[in-house]
């Protein structure tokens, strides 16, 4: 054989070995696809950084996050499921998780919750959501609905923190004022979302629960057409007169803007964003900020807020489930979670509800967490009085409440009373009928 031919043969062999070697490595390598529904750019950066860190420290696993706005996540997931190619993990909101659970698209994450310590790890035991002995999500923090308010304005009006609907109405009325004497009202009592989105339903349901009402009973029957629902709508109609103009289109962002610019004295919001934005724009507003739970109709009822948070879920039929579980365990380690909490737009947006995280001094070793520690702790504590719409009757597993929020049945009812000409009882009756019609044609 000629020397030139030998060289060519060796080169071919070398290439074959390299190709085969790479093929074997690729086959061994696990890929964990993540669908991450983001709120803020900083969140996206945080998850990308963590995915890279995990992939670098675990050579056999590649974590690939795909960042979407949270409104688009469910659409994307449903499409990927319809074609049989779901990602391993998704970080979603509770109402979205419920929709997936109800349709049988989740595998449990009980192993992960157990390995973390279950009720010793999570504030609201056991691990927030347990259905028939299984955990279907691993929550990251907690975002119970609450009201952010100006302490100084309440003090000016000689009032205490409102605990009942009447007190809230009085506080909102007292805060609504013409502060510069030009004859025009320039400060309003309260800002809460009323636009055509799921958002108004979150406040409405929290008020309804705090009035002893509900959407479904324990057997899954619609009990929405009740006196409690009508009373709640009437209260909302009274409250809306103390909101700034433009209420029919006001959303989450308007509550933050209105609060942080001093346009309103009270804002309905899930996260601590009104506080953080006020801190950046108008520090004196932030200095005078406090939070309170959703008021009840009478002092007898217990405050119940709609609870929501981001949570990890494991999608059925995705290929690398074990690798995905390991990643969630890694992500949920206290120090890593603290890094995540600190990274979200400068911190103090989502309240931690993981006990080791709350107990760690590392969490409070941060400018904003240190400054607003009492508020963050109070915010976290609301978790225990919060309701997850979809899982409130764990034995029934109704996705329907979340469905009625997402498909705007509840919002359209609210809008028709607040800005249309429907009476509360008419509107409630119509919504309850739509709910019954839906349940008749859809299996829970």
């Amino acid at each position: 054989m000629k020397p030139k031919a030998n060289v060519i043969l060796v080169a071919i062999l070398l290439v074959c070995v390299l190709i085969l070697g790479n093929t074997v490595t690729a086959a061994d390598k696990k890929k964990v696809d993540i669908l991450w529904s983001q709120y803020y750019p900083a969140q996206a950066k945080a998850i990308q950084k963590m995915a890279k860190e995990y992939s670098d420290s675990h050579p056999n696993v590649k974590v690939v996050p795909q960042i979407l706005t949270w409104e688009k996540t469910l659409e994307k997931l449903s499409s990927s499921m319809a074609v049989g190619d779901p990602p391993e993990l998704a970080a979603l909101m509770t109402s979205q998780i419920n929709t997936l659970y109800a349709r049988g698209w989740l595998n449990p994450l009980t192993e992960v919750v157990d390995s973390l310590g279950g009720d010793k790890y999570f504030m609201k035991s056991p691990g927030y959501v347990e259905i028939e002995g299984e955990h279907w999500m691993v929550p990251v923090g907690t975002i119970p609905l609450k009201l952010t308010y100006r302490r100084d304005l309440l003090e000016e009006a000689g009032m205490e923190e409102p605990r009942t609907w009447d007190e809230l109405l009085k506080a909102a009325e007292a805060m609504t004022a013409d502060t510069n004497g030009d004859g025009e009202i320039d400060r309003y009592g309260i800002s809460f979302c009323c636009n055509r989105s799921y958002c108004p339903a979150t406040f409405f349901l929290s008020l309804l629960w705090s009035n002893g009402g509900n959407v479904l009973d324990e057997k899954g029957n619609v009990v929405f057409d009740s006196e409690e629902t009508v009373e709640t709508l009437k209260f909302l109609k009274e409250l809306v007169q103390y909101t700034p103009p433009g209420a029919p289109n006001s959303g989450w962002a308007d509550a933050v803007d209105n609060y942080s610019t001093g346009t309103v004295g009270i804002a309905m919001y899930s996260e601590l964003r009104p506080l953080v934005v006020a801190y950046n724009r108008n520090p004196e507003i932030a200095e005078n900020t406090d939070i309170m739970p959703i008021p009840t109709r009478t002092p007898k009822e217990e405050s119940q807020a709609r609870w929501t948070t981001m949570g990890w879920v494991l999608l059925k039929n995705s290929p690398d489930q074990e690798a995905a579980k390991k990643f969630v365990e890694w992500f949920m380690e206290p120090d890593r979670l603290i890094e995540y909490y600190h990274s979200i737009t400068g911190g103090v947006l989502t309240a931690p509800a993981e006990i080791p995280v709350l107990e760690s001094e590392k969490l409070w070793d941060h400018k904003l967490y240190k400054k607003f520690r009492p508020i963050v702790e109070e915010f976290s504590s609301y978790t225990n009085n919060s309701v997850i719409p979809s899982f409130e009757h764990p034995k029934i597993l109704h996705a329907s409440i979340a469905v009625f929020m997402n498909d705007l049945t509840i919002t359209d009812m609210i809008q028709s009373v607040l800005f249309g000409n429907k009476s509360p009882s008419e509107a409630v009756e119509k919504a309850a009928k739509e709910m019954r019609d839906y349940l008749e044609t859809h299996e829970p």
Binding site: L74, E75, S78, S79, M81, A82, G84, T99, L100, R103, W105, E184, C194, N195, R196, S197, P244, P245, G246, P248, N249, D257, N258, T263, V403, N406, D407, L408, D412, Q415, S416, F419, G420
Partner: protein, 282 residues
């Protein structure tokens, strides 16, 4: 014969591409409308015309269709009317006419999301430029996106956004009218209005017809302006067929029912499409 075969072979990729892009999604949507397909589930059944019976019996669909006609009709009429006026103004040479012609295209170049969100801020009731201007001028604030004015405001924004397209189509039509017609009319003592009525309008009739049909079809299907501004609210005052269809398909995940709404809406649009085809054939 070989030439003929060669001709068909070379042209077939284009037909396949057009069929794939245009026909496949439409036929698929049509098929879906006869099923109870849920976005999350692979299991589905043919349920015949059940979706159509339920859609056509739903007052919400007719309400949405009425909104659709109001929105599509007013935006089309305004675009064509204003487009004609602006084109007549721009066709005459004046100092800076080229700059003006360039600027008129500007709204069409701005991405819809940017344009609509900017207008949303302009019409914001509390912080908006429009209300601040009104207050400065001594008037009261207006709820631009409230239940009474929401449709008016989305029509206004849509007209601003799509008007350049009509100008771009009408201008060449105007330029194509021989100047000798006007010279002759002037010699006969025709007034500017008579010149417009007896020369410009008849000569432009074909162009205006096509522009109105195209704009009508597009505005009937326009989704993003309304969605970005009001999501069909408040109190469903701006909810039209595309938004109703989207809500069913992607909020309630009933893609079968959502498709039936879209197809039912499309059948009304079909009248316009047939008119368009007939006019282009002529």
């Amino acid at each position: 014969m070989r030439d003929k075969i060669f001709k068909y072979v070379t042209i077939s990729p284009l037909y396949l591409l057009v069929a794939f892009i245009g026909l496949v999604p439409s036929v698929y949507a049509l098929l879906l409308s006869f099923t109870n397909r849920d976005l999350f589930s692979k299991a589905w059944q043919f349920i015949g015309v059940q979706n159509y019976v339920s859609v056509l019996g739903d007052p919400e669909f007719w309400f949405a269709l009425k909104n659709n006609i109001v929105y599509g009709g007013t935006t089309t009429l305004l675009q064509v009317g204003l487009g004609l006026i602006i084109s007549l103004l721009l066709i005459r040479p004046f100092k800076g006419s080229y700059v003006a012609r360039g600027l008129i295209v500007f709204p069409y170049l701005v991405p819809t999301v940017v344009a609509v969100l900017t207008f949303k801020w302009i019409f914001d009731d509390v912080y908006g430029l429009a209300n601040n201007l009104l207050v400065t001028l001594g008037f009261g604030k207006i709820a631009w996106l409230g239940p009474s004015l929401a449709m008016f405001t989305v029509v206004l924004v849509s007209v601003w956004r799509f008007l350049p397209f009509t100008v771009l189509l009408i201008m060449p039509g105007l330029q194509a009218i021989p100047n000798s017609h006007y010279e002759a009319a002037r010699l006969d003592g025709a007034s500017p209005f008579q010149q417009f009525w007896y020369i410009t309008l008849p000569q432009l009739r074909g162009v205006l017809y096509i522009v109105a049909l195209l704009r009508g079809i597009w505005m009937f299907n326009n989704f993003n302006v309304i969605w970005l501004m009001t999501q069909g609210g408040p109190v469903k005052k701006t909810m039209h067929v595309p938004i109703l269809s989207y809500t069913k398909a992607f909020r309630q995940f009933e893609i079968g029912r959502g498709s039936a709404i879209a197809v039912a809406g499309f059948s009304f649009l079909l009248v316009f499409i047939l008119l368009y085809f007939r006019s282009t054939a002529e």
